[in-house]
């Protein structure tokens, strides 16, 4: 399961000029992809709404697809955008098979934090913030969510996002704007509810 990919992005400009032709082809192996981008796939699946108990299965499925399709990857796009496209499709397939929140008791349990720990307070705050982030992401529709995750959390550029989502760059920027507004509105609503409960 080896394929070739064009490795031009990481090369310094002068080096690229010096070796303008031929293009250097290096084998791209699924194990390298796994080691380099496992975190990205995991984070992305989680942020696209996969619950913690299902993350293993979804991420595993993503890399099964990667293994099968690595020959199709020609290196014309950044591999993270390619992986994102696979992850997104896998997550959508996962949601077709399992409702997004199938049963209340399956919902992920809160992190167990040792109250005697010196960092208990900061851990609780981090856990609370993480839950809040995912709750706010849940309020975005799929298109806005994907754009928001890539732009704000993964900090991908507009053209890269356009490549990952197969959209025009202008559409991507417009969608980023609306996604930000929607996220901000959801956060404001949450803060307002919090204030009323106090």
């Amino acid at each position: 399961m080896r394929t070739t990919a064009l490795l031009t992005a990481a090369r310094a400009p002068e080096e690229t000029e010096a070796r303008a032709m031929p293009l250097v082809r290096a084998p791209l192996r699924v194990e390298d992809v796994y080691e380099a981008h496992f975190d990205f796939v995991w984070r992305t699946a989680r942020r696209l709404g996969v619950l913690q108990p299902h993350l293993d299965d979804v991420v595993q499925e993503v890399f099964m697809v990667v293994q099968r399709r690595l020959n199709d990857f020609e290196g014309r796009s950044e591999i993270r955008t390619w992986l994102f496209a696979i992850t997104r499709r896998t997550v959508q397939s996962h949601f077709r098979q399992n409702s997004r929140r199938p049963l209340a008791f399956i919902d992920e349990p809160g992190e167990l934090i040792d109250p005697s720990s010196r960092c208990a307070e900061s851990e609780m705050l981090a856990s609370e913030n993480s839950r809040l982030l995912h709750a706010l992401l849940d309020e975005l529709d799929d298109e806005k969510r994907a754009v928001f995750v890539l732009a704000e959390l993964e900090e991908l550029s507009g053209p890269a996002i356009a490549q990952a989502l197969k959209l025009d760059v202008s559409t991507v920027y417009a969608r980023i704007r609306t996604a930000r507004q929607a996220f901000d509105m959801a956060l404001r609503r949450y803060r307002a509810r919090q204030a009323r409960m106090r």
Binding site: Q97, A126, N129, D184
Partner: protein, 358 residues
């Protein structure tokens, strides 16, 4: 670009790294992938080439990965899983179909090992310990036990397993679940047994045992059913009564007989065994994938019923009862005599809803 408030930006900054996986997450998924890839490679009949260097970044554990995943989890574990009858607690201790094998294996670990010379004992012990520790896994194993038994019985008794099926589309896969000609109980329960009545040389060294085992397996496959039936009684008696372990040389038959030819059933068994492993390892989606792969590769396979059984259990585990019920109904329609139907209904909890009908 100022669409986000300061509050939102602060929240994003605080949570940006919180979704990162832990080292345990990475190791766990790596292990699952190794299993899946090994199963895939085993099913495809190609040697596994990922497990040794792909899935373990450290050079220290490469050998371990290569050994455990490539050898054990792939072909060998699949075969061992089917042929090793004492891995899980049998729900029906008095059930006769497995009596000859079960008796031999339970009373004599050496005999169990002899049934599959390639199965590493360490894997067996590890798996058994894991099953013993995890009650959920044990219950899942109990639920899958009828399927495993049926796989083994059919693999040993059904002459169709000797034929490789032509490839057809998956849409016709369920058509293959026609109940074969009613199998006499005696035939189902009969497995060609090694010749225990052959002269018994004295104990041999372990180095001498493996060739003897191989020879035993070669000639076993060529034995006729009546002879096997006769031998099974002797085997049971010997296994029950013998206090000393059965030596490999004890079961080595005379060195005559047709040459052993590898049978395609091994591929089916390996694939379906891997699916069952996945099911018991709480990976029903993987099990479902493997079952679908089995359907593609062996649309008219000898283990079609068992494939549907594993598929039903996987669908139940995935909380897809409607599909499970549909598949089970199709199985019941095409194989009304199959004992799997009732057991699957019980396992999936359909019994109360469906009553006594199909």
């Amino acid at each position: 670009m100022n669409d986000l408030s300061a509050d939102a930006r602060a929240l994003i900054a605080q949570t940006k790294t919180l979704d990162d996986p832990s080292a345990a997450d990475r190791a766990r998924v790596r292990q699952k992938l190794a299993t899946a890839w090994a199963a895939q490679n085993a099913a495809a009949g190609t040697p596994s080439k990922f497990e040794d260097d792909v899935l373990s970044p450290g050079t220290d554990s490469r050998w371990l990965w290569a050994t455990l995943t490539t050898t054990a989890v792939g072909m060998v574990l699949g075969l061992w899983f089917v042929m090793h009858p004492v891995t899980f607690p049998a729900p029906e201790q008095s059930s006769p179909p497995d009596a000859p094998n079960g008796t031999i294996s339970e009373s004599n670990p050496a005999a169990a090992t002899l049934q599959e010379p390639n199965a590493p004992a360490v894997i067996a012990h590890t798996s058994e310990a894991a099953f013993a520790r995890d009650p959920e896994v044990a219950s899942a194993a109990q639920a899958a036990e009828p399927v495993r038994r049926s796989i083994k019985a059919r693999a040993q008794a059904n002459p169709r397993v000797r034929k490789r099926a032509p490839a057809i589309s998956d849409a016709n896969a369920l058509d293959d679940i026609v109940d074969p000609e009613p199998e006499p109980e005696a035939l189902v329960r009969t497995k060609p047994q090694p010749d225990f009545t052959s002269p018994q040389p004295s104990a041999a060294s372990s180095a001498q045992r493996l060739p003897a085992i191989a020879t035993a397996r070669e000639t076993d496959s060529a034995r006729s059913a009546p002879a096997a039936r006769d031998n099974s009684a002797a085997a049971r008696a010997r296994a029950n009564g013998a206090s000393k372990p059965v030596d490999a040389d004890d079961i080595a038959p005379p060195q005559t007989g047709p040459k052993f030819v590898a049978q395609p059933i091994d591929d089916e068994l390996a694939l379906l065994g891997a699916a069952q492993e996945a099911l018991q390892d709480h990976q029903p989606s993987l099990a479902l994938r493997l079952v679908q792969h089995h359907g593609f590769r062996f649309p008219r396979g000898a283990l079609a019923q068992e494939r549907v059984a594993v598929q039903t259990l996987a669908l139940c585990a995935l909380h897809r009862p409607a599909e499970a019920r549909q598949v089970l109904a199709e199985l019941a329609r095409r194989a009304p005599n199959s004992p799997l139907v009732a057991k699957l209904r019980t396992s999936c909890g359909f019994e109360a809803a469906e009553g006594s009908g199909n």
